[in-house]
């Protein structure tokens, strides 16, 4: 594991011990992040992260739970069947950022059992999706929820998500377009993200790049290569497009799993075009 070799001077045992102790909240917070970052798939690490999700000690001035946020993020990077029920419970947390981290981690864990819990947070539909007074966020982490539903869900979710295409916030509209493309495969939704690549706001162009890469929308390859953004981000997006092009249409699993079965003779003309674009951005 090259990741662990590059780690700062904290050993796996130390990190787990730091996460288990409760005297020093700072050490505990850092250990939770570290265990996720270096994917320490150890039963003791997972047990300690699950315990950290119940922590009452580490509180931010506005009543948030910083340690729980880090623990929820870390659990998304580890393989444990225990994580899904614990993260589903986090969706009811009073802390917005715990709910956001839980939704993102549930998406990464890829278990469709999370769909009903995520869908609950869309209660009230787009009318309820308003800002919290004096906070920089909406009442729910809509981007994370909608993206997770797009990844984990199935077509019956489509009518629940369509209204969010008209939300006031462009990030929410992007998340809805991305999810609807994943759920339906209809290009009209992915084309909405392609249009964002031409907008004047760099942050939005970057997020559309990441979305198009995540869904691997092939017809966007040229527009991705041309948009005004860092080559590093364009390369990541084109990698997503390429890997989808390399994968047969009937493959329904995670792309990482497909990598193991890659048939080296299967390079298609669109895949070669995408690689030529990537070469030009190095």
């Amino acid at each position: 594991m090259s990741d662990i070799a590059d780690a700062p001077p904290l050993t796996i045992d130390q990190a787990i011990a730091n996460l288990q102790q409760t005297d020093d909240p700072g050490l505990r917070y850092y250990a939770a992040w570290w265990i996720g970052r270096f994917r320490v798939n150890h039963p003791d690490a997972i047990a300690a992260l699950l315990a950290a999700l119940e922590d009452e000690q580490d509180r931010s001035p506005d009543g948030g739970y910083p340690l729980r946020r880090n623990a929820a993020r870390a659990l998304g990077k580890l393989d444990s069947s225990l994580a899904v029920p614990a993260l589903l419970k986090c969706l009811d947390s009073s802390d917005y950022y715990v709910r956001e981290a839980a939704a993102q981690s549930l998406e990464m864990l890829g278990d469709p059992a999370a769909v009903p819990g995520l869908l609950n947070l869309l209660a009230g539909g787009v009318e309820a999706a308003i800002a919290v007074p004096d906070k920089p966020h909406l009442v729910q982490p809509y981007n994370a929820i909608i993206e997770a539903l797009g990844t984990l869900g199935d077509w019956p979710l489509v009518p629940e998500i369509i209204p969010f295409l008209d939300h006031d916030q462009p990030q929410v509209r992007n998340a809805a377009a991305r999810a609807l493309y994943q759920l339906t495969g209809k290009p009209e939704y992915a084309e909405r993200l392609v249009e964002v690549l031409y907008c004047p706001d760099l942050q939005l162009r970057r997020s559309a790049l990441m979305d198009l890469g995540a869904v691997g929308y092939g017809p966007a390859a040229g527009a991705i290569a041309r948009t005004l953004a860092e080559n590093s981000m364009k390369l990541i997006a084109l990698k997503g497009v390429l890997e989808r092009q390399l994968c047969p249409d009937d493959f329904e699993g995670r792309l990482e799993d497909y990598a193991k079965r890659f048939d080296p003779l299967s390079l298609s003309a669109p895949a070669i075009e995408t690689m030529a674009l990537m070469d030009s951005l190095l």
Partner: protein, 226 residues
Amino acid sequence: MSDQSDQLQTCLTAVEQADSAAGLAAAVAALAALKDERAAEMLIQTLGYNNPGAAVAAVDGLIKLGSPVVPLLLAQLDSDNYGARAWALRALAGIGDPRGLTLLLKTATDDFALSVRRAATRGLGIIQWEALEPKAQQAAQAEVKTALLQVVRDPEWVVRYAGIVAVQGLAMAVDDHSTIAAIEDCLQERIAADEVLAVRARAQWAVQQLAPKSAPEPALDEQTPD
């Protein structure tokens, strides 16, 4: 003054007087578009302004100017400004002048920033070998081969991807069979074992493009009619 000098002066002044990030980027792009070697010094200066839009335009302009700007770029690469060095290195990598080789070799294998390793690696695949004497060429190609066979094992996928593009470029440029065979082996290893699908596919495409070059002579017994 000639029209060309007038234009140059106007563009240089515009860069000096730009008062916003977007304005500076636009002024640098206009200066770069002149393709005038007298703009090189100013283009290089803007690499240190911490303005990515301007730096991208300046790098493009410097690459178009090519070899004549290499000594100026090499001087810039002594600077303490990390950002400026990284941009200058991108320009150097894009030009492919062998005078930049030592630096590209060190950067491709050593730099801590993956986007800089990526750019230096790409540069190693597009060196203008004809600018070197045959003997120096062989020695330098051997060094580049050694470095690139290390780069294709970089921890970052995008650096490995660039490494594959670069070994393909090197294989196209050399005639030495043992070098081509070593590159083939390393590509086959990536196809079989890289953990990133995109990297495996790029290695496969490299093998396909190199096939006409690396196809072995048919063995004698196969040529003999029954």
